[in-house]
């Protein structure tokens, strides 16, 4: 736990969790509607 309280480590870990979470939310919630979240990047 003490490593997590290091600001640099905390920011990196938080960023990985938050960015990963929101990417999953964007992808799966579009997918559930039958839509492609990555539409622009695939075209």
């Amino acid at each position: 736990m003490s490593a997590l309280n290091n600001p640099v480590v905390a920011v990196i870990v938080s960023l990985i969790i938050a960015v990963g979470y929101f990417t999953l939310v964007d992808h799966y919630l579009m997918d559930m509607q039958g839509l492609d979240y990555w539409y622009l990047f695939r075209k």
């Binding site: 736990m1 997590l4 309280n5 600001p7 905390a10 920011v11 870990v13 938080s14 960023l15 969790i17 938050a18 960015v19 979470y21 929101f22 939310v25 964007d26 919630l29 579009m30 559930m32 509607q33 839509l35 492609d36 979240y37 539409y39 622009l40």
Partner: protein
Amino acid sequence: MGPVTRKRLFSIAALCAMIALLLLPIVMALPSPATGEEAPAADGAKKEEGEKVEKGRDVYYKTEGIVVGAPAPKTTDGPRDYPRYNFESRVLLWFANQQHLYYGSFVLAVPIFCMIIEFMGVVTKDKALGKRYDQLAYDFIKISLTAYSLTAILGGILIFTFLTLYPAFFGYLSSIFRPVMHIYALMFVAESGTLYIYYYGWDKMKEGFLKWIHLSMSVVLNIIGTLLMFLANSWIGFMMSPAGVDEQGRFLGNIWHVIHTALWNPLNVHRLLGNMAFGGGVVAAYAAYKFLAAKTDEDRAHYDWMGYIAMALGVAFLIPLPFAGYWLMREVYAYRQQMGITLMGGLLAWLFIIQATMIGILFLSTNYYLWQAMGRMRGAEKYQRYIKYLVFLLACGYMVFITPHTMVMTPAELKAMGGQQHPVLGNYGVMSAKNGGINVIITTTVLSFVWYMRGNKVSTVSWAKFGNIFMGVFFTCAYINIVWLAIYGYYIPANVRVGLSVPQVATTLSCLFFMFGLNSVMMKGAKQMGPIEWGKISVRSQYALIMLATAFTWMMGLMGYIRSSVRLFWHVNEIMRDNSPWAYTHTVGFAANMISFNVLFFWISILFVFWLGSLTAKKVPVEAKVGVPGSVPQPAGSH
């Protein structure tokens, strides 16, 4: 038999009577098939064998059924179908309807608050805090009791207005909804009986087992109230999206089809949340009024706390309200695309710009109140210097949210601008940007709440530093995701873009649930910098509460008008045409003036109700008002 046992038996009997009252209308309705004609005679079987049974096709469910009702009347402009005074009948009906709705919403919402607050009072381990909650719940129900009588009177006025000014239409509607209207009337009786027993039994059932019985009564009361609202919603649902009738408007014998129309459920959810937000706003305004008029510090502390609780409950229901609105609009589009276009992109679109303005005002007032409220706790100063950034975020979100797609202009202005869309601002007047705008506003409100909840506390958990950084990063990523999705929407086709609103909403809700949850865990056993000094809040904050309530009232009037106007020249959409001289859509200016008049009338009359309530202020069930400023236990679960 001892007096305690007698009391117990009496209270159980009262609760059973309430449940029986709740079930009575349902039982009575069972044998009533709502034929729209006289009940079939016993010798019905002896009817001529060759008699033809006419069948019709349900306009919505597309099922076949035996025609049992008369067709919708084809009205003509004249004293038979549209008797009138030398005044626009529609405006009179609008006024009667709106006032009844305001009071109806208020008296349905407040008992739900009472139930929640009374429950909090019963389950809390802190006895003093429990008494305060109980006193607060009693204060709430006391306000609604006087308003309840006025609701019933206004309901009577509304029915008389319908009967005298729109007899043909009301006759048709009541022929379709005959059993529903009877059930409605019986439920109203049940609601009244339950409410009076609940209110007058407060003092006698204030402890132990009896308190639980009393609490159960509030549950029954709220079930009845909610069912009442659902039944009333079925009438407006039928007018907008009729079902259970054929194309001539003849009833086909299935009352459930008539009730369960395409828009009934979205309307139910939207109205329930709207009523709760409105009720919270009105009670908060009442508390603000009492705070401003208070003579002692003790009263100021009490009403400051009351205002905060009412505001928090109101806003808790305000946050999901836009999402319920999206669902309703989605169902409107699914039912009739043209109806959706009339609402959002056509004749009524400008009213949605006004609606966006009002929603923005609601959230700005809420945030302003929370920032002011931080002034009553020591330690919250650390957040003051960051508030300007929240103001910036709110202002950006608000400006995008209220930008219209096209402008109302003179031909010369149109020529100078090169079209109806402004070359720069026009880009923001689309749903992609607006969704981003409102989600930024709601997320900022969530952030303000989180700051308020931790205002006078310092977390003592071992991972506090990580927790704080994680919260900051999560909120930042949420803002980036919302704005990114809004911008992304400009680069992909419309059929893909519409889906982006779902992850945007999910981002906002993630902040709401995860950050509230994380904050609560972090603040468990936190070090307090000082108590919350109830009553020590700026006077400006109380005006923010009044602003909040007024904005709720105005927006409710506006949305009711929009919902009703979308039928255009139909009494019942595509079934019964409105042939009165007033079957046109009012100008935006006239509608806004009418809504303002309704709001003004409501607030003047509710002030009278507040004043009546204050006449009995000395008769309170709790021996004395508990708690003094400075030493008051924290009111919400988060404190």
